[in-house]
């Protein structure tokens, strides 16, 4: 691996991490699409910043662009507050307007510089190692590493300092306000950090793909955990993984790095969406199937308990009587036998075992009283009713 390759992966990983942190809170606040608005509307800020500083990596330029990002949020909220349009419409009104101003400004005034529309939309990660930070004669590495590294350190420090406040105001704005943690300050704080991150990341991955890095890793992590800290860690992990895997995919396909990174993110989300242990599509499907089977089992056991007459308890009769298909009847019979809930004698007569009777009583008690405590006990001892 050449040092340029290593540097590209380092930049990509830093960008991914920097995006995942504010992204987690944006996703939880149901504001994910505001990142799309910010990523586009910072363009005029970047162009103005460039006119003033003549340097694409100047901190002033990043700040000016971030201000445009926060202004976008303010505009969107202002339009939304009039009550004349909904939030998504407000977002759709604001950012194309600002973005188009940026596009015109570039076309009129900055045709000969590195700011071109392709770079704005898709980024130029492959060229990042060429732009180096020099201190006298010493090479300090790619400028992007310094820029995005600084942004990452700032947002990590803010996260560590204000984790409690961010969590509270994201979960319950009202309580945050009454406890003296101004939700407005936290909201605009998060928006500022998001804007700065987008500006920093945008140079590497472009306006469209930065949105994927902000939304996809937290959305994937959200399906896997019920803990905010774990969600943050997982988001960062997914971001870094897809940054590095995406780089090698691009290398192999000889395609765009940012595009490959985003594809990896998409595949990752799809896999988790399908196979997540608790909320994944497959696990939900199997859980529902299992539950259906268990409800059938319960119906069967209740029938046995209610009928002492041997005629009612014959295997064949059960199939006809409860009106089940042969296969289903067999599955239920097998399930009950396997769990020692029933016994079948030589005449093919079915009866409840001690355990079966106990189970049926408990289940019946739960169904009739609907008490939480009864079900808690059942959950521990039997597989039925489990989550």
């Amino acid at each position: 691996m050449s040092s340029a390759q290593l540097e590209i992966q380092l930049i990509a990983a830093l960008v991914a991490m920097a995006c995942a942190i504010p992204g987690t809170f944006l996703v939880l606040r149901k504001m994910a699409m505001i990142s799309d608005a910010i990523s586009h509307s910072i363009l005029p800020g970047l162009v103005f910043g460039f006119f003033i500083t003549q340097d694409l990596n100047s901190p002033l330029l990043i700040l000016l662009a971030a201000v445009t990002g926060v202004l976008t949020v303010i505009f969107v909220e202002f339009i939304q507050k009039t009550g004349l349009v909904k939030e998504d419409t407000a977002i759709g009104l604001v950012f194309p307007a600002l973005f188009s101003i940026g596009v015109i400004l570039i076309a009129k005034n900055a045709n000969d510089v590195h700011l071109d529309i392709d770079a704005v939309l898709l980024g130029e990660l492959a060229f990042a190692p060429f732009d180096r930070l020099m201190f006298g004669e010493t090479d300090l590495g790619p400028k992007s590493v310094w820029v995005i590294g600084t942004i990452l350190i700032i947002s990590l420090s803010l996260l560590l300092l204000f984790f409690k406040e961010l969590k509270l105001s994201t979960f319950d704005k009202g309580l945050a306000a009454t406890l003296g943690f101004s939700p407005i300050v936290l909201h605009y704080g998060l928006m500022t950090v998001s804007s700065i991150t987008v500006v920093g990341a945008f140079d590497a991955v472009g306006a469209v793909l930065v949105v994927a890095l902000i939304i996809a890793p937290p959305a994937t992590a959200y399906l896997l955990t019920n803990n905010l800290k774990k969600m943050l860690v997982l988001s960062c992990f997914f971001g870094i993984f897809s940054a590095i895997a995406g780089y090698w995919l691009a290398n192999y396909l000889d395609a765009s790095i940012a595009g490959s990174m985003t594809s990896v993110l998409g595949v990752l989300f799809l896999l988790v969406y399908l196979f997540a242990p608790k909320q994944g599509i497959f696990s939900v499907y199997f859980k529902e199937k299992q539950q259906r089977k268990e409800v059938s089992l319960l119906v069967f056991l209740l029938h046995l308990q209610n009928h002492q007459d041997p005629k009612e308890r014959h295997v064949n009769h059960l199939q006809e009587h409860i009106n089940w298909q042969k296969v289903q009847a067999k599955t239920v019979l097998d399930l009950a036998t396997k769990n020692n809930l029933i016994q079948i004698d030589a005449n093919n007569l079915v009866s409840l075992t001690e355990k079966g009777r106990e189970f049926t009583d408990e289940a019946l008690k739960y169904i009739t009283t609907n008490k939480e405590t009864a079900i808690e006990d059942l959950k521990k001892r039997f597989f039925l009713f489990r989550g």
Partner: protein, 246 residues
């Protein structure tokens, strides 16, 4: 404290959303140590009144005093139980963690909760009968359990005044009884409780103080003196009996 101990004193309070008044010139004096219901029809501004007292909504006129001072200086004396539907219960967190949030006010900015806060939260969970659910993800709780978690969160704030927005909404009978017992216990400890309430039938049984509200303040005082047909009719209009039978 001034001559008479009012927990909350509201003077000439007017609140408007987009210039449409939702609360008109409310005057309200809530004595310390009462268990008070705020009743009124839908859209009467009950929740708005609570939010205005808490400063979540800015009034366009009037003032609110908590123990004789502005709310901002008394933040630690007031606990708020919002409506259950006001938060996203799919948020990745546990019951214990939500209760711990009640301690954030006394911690202030930046400082993290520690063992002391955890102990307080566990005690509150025990009080509402939810100790065994402490590690449960909040979306896995029933509506009644979620309401108890909110109550426990207010308990750890150890405040002097509790403001609750429909704590009985969508809970089962057992939870309702458990909640009212805790409210009565708090009252006997000298706390002041202000509860937005919907079920007029239970007002005399649960509360000792009541405020009738319908955009304007209709009446406020002891249940035994003012909870009568006259005030109900003034608040709910001639059809108040429909409201009672709900």
């Amino acid at each position: 404290m001034n001559k008479k101990n009012y927990a909350i004193q509201v003077d000439d309070l007017t609140v408007a959303y987009d210039y449409k008044p939702v609360l008109w010139d409310i005057d309200l004096k809530i004595p310390e140590g009462v268990l008070m219901a705020i009743v009124g029809p839908n859209g009467a501004g009950k929740s708005t009144l609570i939010k205005a007292i808490l400063g979540i909504i800015k009034p366009i006129a009037g003032s609110v005093k908590v123990f004789g001072k502005p709310y901002k200086k008394q933040v630690d004396k007031v606990a708020y139980v919002p409506q259950k539907g006001s938060v996203d219960w799919d948020f990745p967190t546990t019951a214990l963690d939500v209760v711990m949030m009640g301690t954030y006010g006394s911690l202030g900015w930046i400082k993290r909760p520690g063992q002391k806060e955890k102990k307080a939260a566990l005690e509150a969970l025990e009080k509402v009968g939810m100790l065994s659910f402490q590690d449960r993800q909040i979306s896995q709780l029933s509506g009644g359990q979620q309401q108890r978690i909110f109550l426990a969160r207010a308990l750890v704030q150890n405040a002097a005044i509790y403001l609750m927005d429909e704590p009985f909404q969508g809970v089962d009978a057992t939870t309702e009884k458990a909640i009212i017992n805790i409210l009565k216990e708090l009252k006997s400890d000298g706390k002041t409780l202000i509860v937005v309430h919907h079920d007029l039938q239970t007002v005399p049984e649960y509360f000792d103080w009541v405020t009738f509200l319908n955009v304007k303040g209709i009446a406020s005082g002891p249940v035994k003196d003012i909870f009568n047909d006259d005030n109900l009719t003034k608040t709910y209009g001639i059809n108040y009996k429909v409201a009672v039978n709900q």
